[in-house]
Amino acid sequence: MLSDAELLRYSRHLLLEEVGQSGQEALKKASVLIIGMGGLGSPAALYLASAGIGHIVLSDFDSIEVSNLQRQITYQSDDIGDAKVEVTKRKLQQINPEIKVRSINKSMGAEQLTMELTMADLVLDCTDNMESRQLINKACVDTKTPLIVGAAIRLEGQLMFFDHREENSACYHCLFPDSEEQTLNCSNSGIIGPVVGTIGTLQALETIKHFVGLPSGIKNKLKIFDGKTLDWQTFNINKDANCAVCGKG
């Protein structure tokens, strides 16, 4: 049941037949783990808190640096030096005191990650390195937890949704089997804020759709966003029967 305060707060959701009261109650019951509180995690967390996701868990081990402020919109100059998860938690509670927010101010190993996933209904991969991405994917496959992956560099973004509750779901490793850190990241290649913000925002949109029961158009698909032309490319990802993580290996 939603309180009067919640009915008022979420009135623009309640006007939508796609959300309505039942959808809002589903958002309230939902538990989402956001890993990485950078350029993707910032808008994702802000939108999900605003939307009324009832339980949000934030994970990151970084402190805020001045170079983060060009794109990580949760933070401001006087937050520099503070832990990202603590500042984000405070901001989310200021935006929406109706929800619960928990912070994990460290890099999670496989064991802790798996334990956290047993309590999460859905995970957002908002990290900035391949090693974490592979670790998160494997833990989501093992625990059958839906995973929405975002990534961005320069003027390009990538977005994927792997619903590991489904038997034939592909996984991140089917698409990108390399764990070596030869991939591009924001510190070595640069990034324009609204490009990474677009992808993080769409991770939040897919999360809201997931919980209110709207079908996702991007399951087992890779969407690539070109910030120069604003064009999107869409690729189908079929589960690799020989995948070392989700297949027979």
């Binding site: 070596e180 690729f235 020989n242």
Partner: protein
């Protein structure tokens, strides 16, 4: 044989595999992903997937930034 790679035309003499195409183009195998006609060809199938006349190949890199 005419194909397209990232929307640019390319003329190939023989039917070659995805892996041979990447080597031919001097692309790194690590960190790359390949789609043929909008469907991802996973890494384990690169040596067995033959490229056909008219195929539209998309090559791109994994990106990890966030």
């Amino acid at each position: 044989m005419k194909i397209q790679v990232n929307e640019q035309p390319l003329e190939l003499t023989d039917n070659i595999t995805i892996e041979q195409l990447l080597i031919h183009l001097g692309k790194p195998l690590i960190g790359s992903a390949v789609a043929v006609n909008q469907s991802i060809i996973t890494r384990t199938k690169w040596t067995e997937t033959i490229i056909n006349e008219g195929d539209k190949i998309s090559l791109f890199q994994a990106i990890a930034g966030g």
